[in-house]
Structures are given as C-alpha cells and as structure tokens.
C-alpha cells in the first residue's frame, strides 16, 4: 500500500531524476534501517573497536597514551588475579545454569488453578523485580558474621559460624546463591508463559497413550517448551558473564580479590579509585568479549538454523 502511494506521489513530480523510482525497493529497507545502524555503530561497534585499540596502549586516562603492543596481554596471561577472575567466571557460568531447571520446576509447580495462585506467582517473581543492589545487601546481611541469619544457623548446627563473604573458599558460591535467587524467578516467568502455550490436545493424547509423570514431562511437555528453554539459557549465560553488581555490592571483589570476576576486574583496573590502567582494563574487556562471542555466535547459529527450519 505505502509503496504504491509513494510511487504515485513520485510520479506526479515530473522532470526529477528517476533514480529514486528505480531503486526504491532496494533503498527503502536501508533508509528504515539507517537510524538503527547509525546508533548501533556509534554506541556498539565503535566502542568495541576503540576498546580493542586501547588495549594495546598504556594510558592512565590523563596523560599521553604509550604504545605497548601486546604487552598488556602478556602481562594479563601472567596475572594470578586474571586467572582467579576467569575461574570464578566459569564457576558462575556452571552454577548459574541451575536457574534453568529450578525455574522450570517452580513454574510446573505454580502452573495450576488454585484460589490465589496469582498472588503466589507474584511472590515467586518478586526477587526479579527488586534491584540487584538490594538483593546483594539482603544477602550480605544474611551472611554477616555475628548477626546474620545464615551465620547463626551454621553456628547453631555446627558450633562455629562461617562468615561466607570473608572466606575465599565459599565467597564466590555465596554470591552466586544470591544471584540465583532473582535468576530463578526470571526463568520461572519464562517457563510460565511457555506453559500457557502447551497444547492441551497433545497432553490429552499422551495421557490416553498412558504417559504420566516424568515421561510426560520429558517427551511431551519439554519439547513444546523449547523456545522458552532457549531464551532461559541465553539470558542465564549472559547474566552469568556480566555478573558485576552483586560482586561489587557484596564483597568489592574481596577478600583479597578472591571473588573477582572478569567484568569486575576490568572495572577495578580501569575505573576504580586505585585503578586507571585504561589499556589493561581494555585488554580484560577484550578477553571477556571473546568469551561472550563464543556463546553469542552459538546462539546466533542456532537461531539462523531454526529460522531456516532445519
């Protein structure tokens, strides 16, 4: 419709070059895309390239940039703090995945019609609504030595309390537990919407064929929840890799840097009070970007495959 209307208008202007008229179909999509492309290049593509470029320099944000070549990377691969952060990122990725099955089971549990179920659903969803900063604060009080609920519980059971956030063995797990709380809620809501679309006919048919319990879940429900699972995995992987706020709020990377993750280490090196090594921070960012690219490429590959119906 729009196309013919424009043609009509263009047609009335006689004497104008025919360029627009002949190339209209080829150009129109680009014109519509132009604002998006401009924004995307300015705010995404350019910063990525600039960060990569910066990672070859020594720069404190004030003085002259000094070309270092790959020296930042050489130092990075000999930096214990970098390996601590990398290890923690992997732990984050692995344990954060628990949010997907946990969210699924809560969703299955809540997917029933009882009086007031909406209230229960909202209550379960609540942790995702409150800010990560608040989640971090609540959990740091929960773990706090001397007065924290968790600390006192452990003290009551075993006789000696464990200050989770002061112990380099447990601190990362403690923060991940805090992160899982809202993440499970997020996965749950994704599955709840997915469950709405599960076809009742197929369930009915499966029931007639004698499927129940686990077999019903595995062979009938789950395949229909595939799109929800995909999204849940994507948001969880990204959530795990960009975990920053909880680390910053709960421990500030401590004790002695043992709860750092790559994104936090980058911030510490480049922007915190004692940092301002822009080049080194950029090098960490590039590594983090490379790790993310592995997952992002995987997701995109899967999406393209699905779209082509393979």
């Amino acid at each position: 419709m729009t196309g013919s209307a424009t043609t009509a208008i263009a047609g009335t202007r006689s004497g104008k070059p025919k360029f627009w008229k002949t190339n209209q179909r080829a150009l129109a999509p680009w014109i519509f895309l132009a604002p998006g492309i401009a924004m995307f290049s300015l705010y995404v593509i350019y910063p990525i390239i600039a960060s990569m470029w910066l990672s070859f320099y020594d720069w404190d944000g004030l003085g002259e940039k000094v070309w270092l070549g790959t020296q930042n990377y050489v130092e990075l691969f000999d930096d214990d703090a970098f390996y601590t952060s990398l290890k923690n990122n992997i732990i984050w990725l692995a344990l954060y995945m628990l949010a997907v099955p946990a969210g699924l089971f809560i969703a299955l549990f809540l997917n029933q019609t009882v009086t007031g179920i909406r209230i229960y659903k909202s209550l379960f969803f609540f942790p995702f609504v409150i800010s990560q900063v608040v989640v971090g604060l609540i959990f740091s009080w929960f773990y706090a030595p001397n007065f924290g609920l968790f600390y006192n519980l452990i003290e009551w059971i075993t006789g000696t309390g464990v200050a989770v956030l002061a112990d380099d063995r447990y601190v990362t797990y403690g923060i991940i537990a805090a992160g899982l709380w809202p993440q499970i809620a997020y996965c749950m809501i994704l599955y709840l919407t997915g469950l709405n679309n599960v076809s009742p006919d197929q369930i009915e048919a499966a029931r007639l064929d004698g499927a129940r319990g686990w077999r019903m879940l595995w062979h009938v429900i789950l395949p229909q929840l595939r799109p929800a699972t995909f999204i849940a995995v994507v948001v969880t992987v990204i959530g795990a890799l960009r975990s920053f706020d909880l680390v910053s709020i709960m421990t500030d990377g401590g004790p002695y840097g043992s709860s750092r993750v790559l994104s936090f280490y980058m911030f510490e090196q480049a922007l915190s009070e004692y940092g301002f090594r822009m080049g080194y921070g950029a090098a960490i960012a590039v590594i983090l970007f490379a790790i993310m690219m592995v997952f992002i490429s995987g997701f995109i590959w899967k999406m393209i495959r699905d779209e082509r119906g393979m």
Partner: protein
Amino acid sequence: MKLLKTALLGSAAAAIMASSALAQARVVKYYADFDPAPLAAFEAVIADFEAANPDIDIVLQNFDHEGYKTSIRNFLSADSPDLANWYAGNRMAPFVNAGQFMDISDVWTDNNLGETLASAEGSMTIDGKQWGVPYTYYQWGIYYNKDAYKQAGVEVPTTWAEFIDNCAKFKEAGIDCVTTGTKALWPGAGIFDYMNLRTNGYDFHMELTAGKVAWTDDRVKNTFAEWAKLVEPGYVTANHAAIDWQDAAALLVQGKAANYVMGNFAVAVFKDGGMTNDTLGFMVFPEITPGIPRGEEAPTDTIHIPAGAKNVEDAKKFLAYIATADVQTKLNEALGQLPVNNQSKVGDDPFLQAGFEMLSTADGGIAQFFDRDAPAEMAKIGMEGFQEFMVKPGNVDAILDRLEKARQRIYK
C-alpha cells in the same frame, strides 16, 4: 543566582564589554568533597574571606566524597575549576606529573609558609616545588576501651612485648585484642604502616612505599614476623575481611574488642556509640624495635590550583588566607582535626591534644598513609596482601613475592 552571575561574567569578559554593574565580584570556582560538618566549617571560612575581600566571590561546588575521586580526573582536563581539594604525598603525583596542578611555590615563599607549615612541606613538595596548601591533618594511633582493659586486668602497654602479653589475657577474657574491619581494605594498611614504622623506622618505610626496597627484603619480613605475633594466635577480630570499619568500631564500643588502630575521625563514631572521655583511651602505637626514631602517621588534606584555572590570582589569595594561623585554628576547631600551621591553636578535645603532642614529638617523621605514600596501583595490591596476611598468615612468602612482582612492574 551565582550561576547566572558566572554566566554573565563569562560572556561579558569574552565580549570585552564589562560594565561595572556586572563585574563587581571576580568569581573563584572551588570544587570540593566535604562531608556535611566540614562543609559547614568551610562555608563559614569562605564567608569570612568574602567579607574581607568583597571583590572576590568564591563559588563552592561540593561533590560526594567517593564520586569526587573519579570526577576530579574528568573536570581537571575538561572544565577546570580555580581550586580543587585533594591529598598530599604520592596521591597528588599523577596530577602533578601530568601537568594538571599548578606550581604554587610563590604562595609558599611570599607567605613564609615554609616556616608555618613546615611539618607538611615535605609531603607537598615534588621536584623541589610546592603544589598545594594543606589545611588539616589528623593522627592515627591506637584507640582503646578502658573498661575492656579493666575487665582483663591489664595495664596500658608501652612496648610491643607488653602489648602481645596483654593480648593473651584479652583472649582468655573473651575479648578481641585488636579489632579492625578490612572490607574496604584501607584499615589493614594502617596496621601495616605502624608495624613497619615501628620495626624499621620512618626512612625505611618511605623507601619501601617509594619502591626503592624489595618487598622480599629481610627487613620487610621482620615486619611481617612481628605482625604474625598478633595474627597467628588469633588476637585480631575473626572475619574482619567481611566487616566495615564502623562495624569494628561497634565491637570496641561494646567492649568486645580492646584496641583499634584507627584515625582520629573514628572518635566521633565511638562517641556516637556511647563512649566518653572516661571510657575511650588513646595511645601511641607501642615501640617494637628499641631506639629507632618514632615515626607517626597523619594524613593531610590539601587544596590545589588546577593548571586550567582561569582566576589564578584570586585563587592564590584564597590559599594564602587558608594557610594563616587564625583561619586554620577556626577551621580545625569545627572539623575536630589538627591545624597544619604551627602557630594555630589546637582544640580542647583530649584526643586532639594527645595527637598534637604525639605528632609534635615524633622525631622520625610523619607518614601520610599507605595509599597516599605508595602509588595507587601498588596501594591496591599491597592492601589486598595485608588483608590476606591477616586471614592467612602462613601465605606470607607468596604474598611478598606477589607484591615484589608488582613493585618491579609499577615503579619504572
């Protein structure tokens, strides 16, 4: 209104059409990071200055304390004020070296500040020039709970050996001998500074923070060996890595801890918690190696003129004013801290008096603080090492190796 005045002034100056009505007062832009009480004190001082110099208008823009530390880097290079707060020692070195602060040696020579501010001259000097004016400082030392001492039945110690003996008795009584909260890292650096100052002396401490001595040096190991006497038997509050310094202050107030190595600003927190001059005590950190000159720790806060300042002349006038004895007396009375000018009067508060007495008799020298004496990067890695040591004293060799590796990279 002030903003409007500034805008008008700026355009007027640019167009060279200054009418007397518009250009009555010359504006000095001042960026600072005061907490509420110091802010009020400074506003009073500025009002006095403006009354004495009606043709100058000081426009104070106050920032949040933590945010200031990052925003200063932006505004110094982008939109520079005429005056800016910062800190003495190595902490100002990046700005001095990058040419962001102005050399104000003339303010020092014209006003004879080398004499009146003598104690701070060293920490304000880089390359033989002075780069700012100090207006306040405060001592560090050991604050203790007198009731806890009574409860454990021990006397206030004067030597390190006595201090450690006391710790054993505190432990029996179920009291933490030394408390601290190293969640923000820096409180641990205060303990390290004193351990090193008392074990090896001020000159060595300065060489170490200036990167001239290896962290794997035997003398550094001696410091950590003395420190281990405190850490290994568990005389320091457990889980200090998870608590803030204010939470540790609460332990001292409640009598669950006996001693706290802290700066004088903590007195306000102790007193808010209900301690009085009768229950709160202050002592000089006890002697470890006998006979070495006693060095102390007293961080200094300073004001600088950025290189991009527009009204340098009036800014210098204000700095000279801030440096005078009367102004520093008045200012520090309100701040509850110590004036740098040696002709100023110190407030009546017993802790200020004790601090003043301690600092004026320190024959070793006055250190700023680990994160001001050492470059920022070294400070960060160092303070993490101190925290780790206080949790796992057995890792001392690995920690020192790590610090040494960092030293070789950072100081070139």
